[in-house]
């Protein structure tokens, strides 16, 4: 897409990492602050608000892709995803969100399952 609209800046919440146990599946819950503008709405002047959504989420454990999701306009604003993860030891988790207008957001967390 053209770069007329700047990609929104984002904040994210990542929960569940402290509760991970070695070799045991645990739930990881991630939320990204993002409007997920679906491109169907109009502003006060009758102009269509251009689509700006997060289209892809990826989670890597030590550079190995463990979970990915393609998101569409039907995903609610501030996209929330919960998935399970089984980690056999300490490692680095990387969370990547990418979307329209060149949007990208990355979070990195060290995990040390008990």
């Amino acid at each position: 897409m053209a770069d007329a609209t700047p990609a929104p800046r984002a904040r994210s919440l990542i929960h569940g990492l402290d509760a991970l146990r070695r070799g045991q599946p645990g739930e990881v819950r991630v939320t990204l602050g993002h409007p997920m503008e679906n491109g169907l709405r109009h502003d006060g002047y009758g102009n269509v608000v251009p689509r700006s959504i997060v289209t892809r989420f990826e989670c890597r454990l030590d550079d190995q892709l463990v979970f990915a999701a393609d998101l569409y306009t039907a995903v609610a604003a501030n996209p929330y995803l919960a998935f399970w993860l089984k980690a056999d030891g300490p490692g680095t988790l990387r969370f990547d969100w990418t979307g329209d207008w060149g949007f990208s957001h990355r979070e990195t967390r060290q995990i040390n399952p008990a």
Partner: protein, 155 residues
């Protein structure tokens, strides 16, 4: 020569004008009816493989008060081992402007085949959650939901 060329040009102009008129006339209709049916989307996703109802547990409130954010949970009955695991979980809808809702890609590192998210629903409709296993089999569960406040409405 010019005696032939002029009507031909006029004919071409007439044809182009008609085509443009048709295109203008058809475009809104096409835009509204562009989204394929839920069944078509499911069959396309399956790529000719049979889809069996079962093994997928699709949890969503039967009565949705706010279509702007609807929690969903999809759990698939699978041991999630290297030999037998879920590779993909997708959700499609019947009556939103676009059929796709979310596509999740999983593997044995997940341990449990369960995903949750929050979605938008434009109106009361049917939803389907589908799962693709590592053996290539495809499973589904359909759910009907009633939406009292629809998403995609101003503001």
């Amino acid at each position: 020569m010019s005696g032939i060329a002029l009507p031909r040009r006029r004919m071409l102009g007439l044809g182009a004008g008609t085509a443009l008129g048709l295109a203008l006339h058809c475009r809104p209709v096409a835009a509204v009816s562009a989204a394929p049916s839920l069944r078509t989307v499911e069959l396309d996703w399956a790529g000719g493989r049979p889809i069996t109802e079962g093994r997928v547990n699709f949890e969503i409130a039967a009565l949705v008060e706010n279509g702007n954010t609807v929690p969903i949970l999809v759990k698939v009955d699978s041991p999630m081992t290297a030999a037998d695991h879920v590779q993909e979980i997708v959700v499609f809808n019947e009556k939103n402007p676009q059929r796709d809702v979310v596509r999740c890609f999983l593997g044995p590192a997940n341990g449990v085949a369960q995903v949750q998210t929050r979605i938008r629903l434009a109106t009361s409709q049917q939803l389907v959650a589908l799962a693709r296993m590592s053996d290539g089999s495809r499973w589904s569960q359909h759910v009907d939901v009633l939406v009292t406040l629809a998403a995609c409405i101003e503001p």
